[in-house]
Symmetry: C2
């Protein structure tokens, strides 16, 4: 409906041309379209994405995670500056489905990454908001395509290492980097199970001053631990290393390792195969999320399910029977 | 249709009474009903499961996994005999969605667990067959309920540690035990990523003869590795130990640890909370599998998806657009 259409929209072609010519202002406005929940914007976003698709993909996509306090923003600032010195254009995005609750916990604070944000070759975009992880992840993935089409050849996607968003980031990046701190022995740092096994690289951050010895020790412990981890399909052995954003130590070695990873996986075919699989999974995940929305998306259904959950945990109904009854009702709704 | 109804079926009540009185022959026939794909049997299975539901649940459910060659059947035989000596009744089930292809790779071989199968307090059932992991897992989970209702107070669910079935077993058991071999250093033993992190206990098996030293070393390495793993929600620290089914070493310590686990998680509330969550997830998984069947289950759909996958990997269509188009078509089918 025309009534809902915001006034300040450009034509689809203007967004497409602007993004493809690397215009940062238009890039930002195109990302706003992708992030919008308005129906008219959704159609516009589809057109834009479809048009820039063949110009996307030419970047190294790097996921970066770690719990709050691990020093993600200072690390990304130091890492990003190093990449730009090497002649790269770097875009920094984030996934944070909790950003509405925590009021912009990642990339939302304007004072963060100050030095980086003033550089012409860096593009920083705060996290999209949304109700579902699937929705936020889709927006971030499409923003990534726009950044690539605008000429950014390295994409850093930041997430907080405490929830499910890591799987989403892992599913849209080529390389997954986990930041850790040298803790006291068995300090567990709040990292969720399974995240460590996704990492292509573990970086013990803040390895400076009094922390250097502890960090070296932690580094060795994690190396021993990863040693017994099962091998990744990529053929890559995860790297454990230390870094300091304050003293700028270890940053270049991290980029070297990522370059080696790209070389190895390009040669053995994993890089492109992984991307293809990610794209295909993206379609299926979107379909499956929409299907669930169709099934679970009504208020009536939510009430019925709550009731069933109670009956199940009090052994009044078998879970399979409950499921089958609900599916029958769903089918009838559509008949 | 009456034509499809097998002749040798009992009444629902006969199955229910037989199972509840611990009659092994009737238990086997009831499991056959649960495993059957006939429509008339499915209705019968629903009735039986619903009726025995309140008599189920009173067991310790233990998942056991490890790659082929790790010695699962001899371990289960030794472990099962130990449990029976302690006065327990033990049922042994398995999940193996590949069993049709590999012709009964687990529990199918009648010469396996020979000593155990002759004992009155042991009940052994080969793996159900089926096309989908979800289907096989549902059958195994319902067979587990039947065994519990028949008085078995320890259920061992075996699976092969190479695929997705571990997640299914982990989702229906209280305790997850991973069998490993002492390998040469960084030998990775074919265990898939993520499985090690699900384990409540790692057992280095075949720790006998020339293997004793190597096993002790491997045990220490895995202990160090688990040390840096994130903590489990159960509050339990995974145990690493060695065992030999040949010399019967370490078997009692394993059961002691499981008993301690049960004590700990009963006291901190995790045991019952985990079971409730498993039951609820079981309903949702079943619904989601059925939904996918509704959506993907036609030949026409399969062809369209194959075509879309090719368009996606050649960047001709964006994954999200492909997904949205398919969902629109699905909605129209039902309108």
């Amino acid at each position: 409906m025309a009534i809902n259409k915001p006034k300040n929209r450009l034509s689809a072609q203007a967004y497409i041309d602007g993004v493809l010519s690397g215009n940062r202002v238009i890039l930002s406005r195109a990302i706003t379209i992708v992030e919008s929940n308005l129906e008219s914007d959704k159609a516009l976003a589809k057109t834009i994405i479809q048009a820039i698709l063949s110009a996307s993909g030419h970047s190294m996509r790097i996921g970066i995670t770690g719990v709050p306090g691990v020093g993600k923003s200072t690390f990304i600032e130091a890492f990003g500056k190093h990449l730009i010195t090497q002649g790269h254009k770097v875009a920094i995005l984030s996934i944070d489905p909790s950003s509405q609750r925590s009021k912009g916990s990642i990339l939302g604070d304007k004072t963060r990454m100050e030095a980086l944000s003033t550089l012409e070759s860096a593009y920083i975009r705060p996290s999209a908001s949304g109700d579902t992880l699937g929705g936020v992840a889709n927006k971030t993935a499409e923003s990534m395509l726009l950044c690539e089409a605008a000429g950014y050849d390295i994409i850093l996607i930041e997430t907080v290492g405490v929830g499910q968003s890591e799987t989403a980031v892992h599913g849209m990046t080529d390389f997954f980097l986990l930041l850790m701190l040298a803790g006291a022995g068995d300090e567990l740092q709040g990292i969720k199970r399974g995240i460590m096994e996704m990492a292509d690289m573990l970086v013990i951050n803040k390895a400076d001053g009094d922390n250097i010895k502890k960090s070296a020790l932690a580094c060795q412990q994690y190396k021993n631990a990863l040693h017994v981890f099962p091998e990744s399909d990529s053929g890559w052995t995860p790297v454990v290393t230390t870094a300091s954003s304050t003293t700028n130590t270890g940053i270049d070695a991290i980029w070297n390792a990522i370059t080696q990873y790209k070389q190895l996986t390009t040669n053995n075919g994993y890089f492109i195969e992984n991307r293809n699989q990610q794209q295909i999974r993206w379609m299926y995940n979107t379909i499956n999320n929409e299907l669930k929305q169709l099934f679970y998306g009504s208020k009536d259904m939510a009430e019925q399910l709550t009731e069933l959950e109670q009956k199940i945990t009090s052994s009044k109904i078998a879970p399979i029977k409950a499921a089958q009854d609900m599916i029958e009702a769903f089918k009838k709704r559509y008949e």
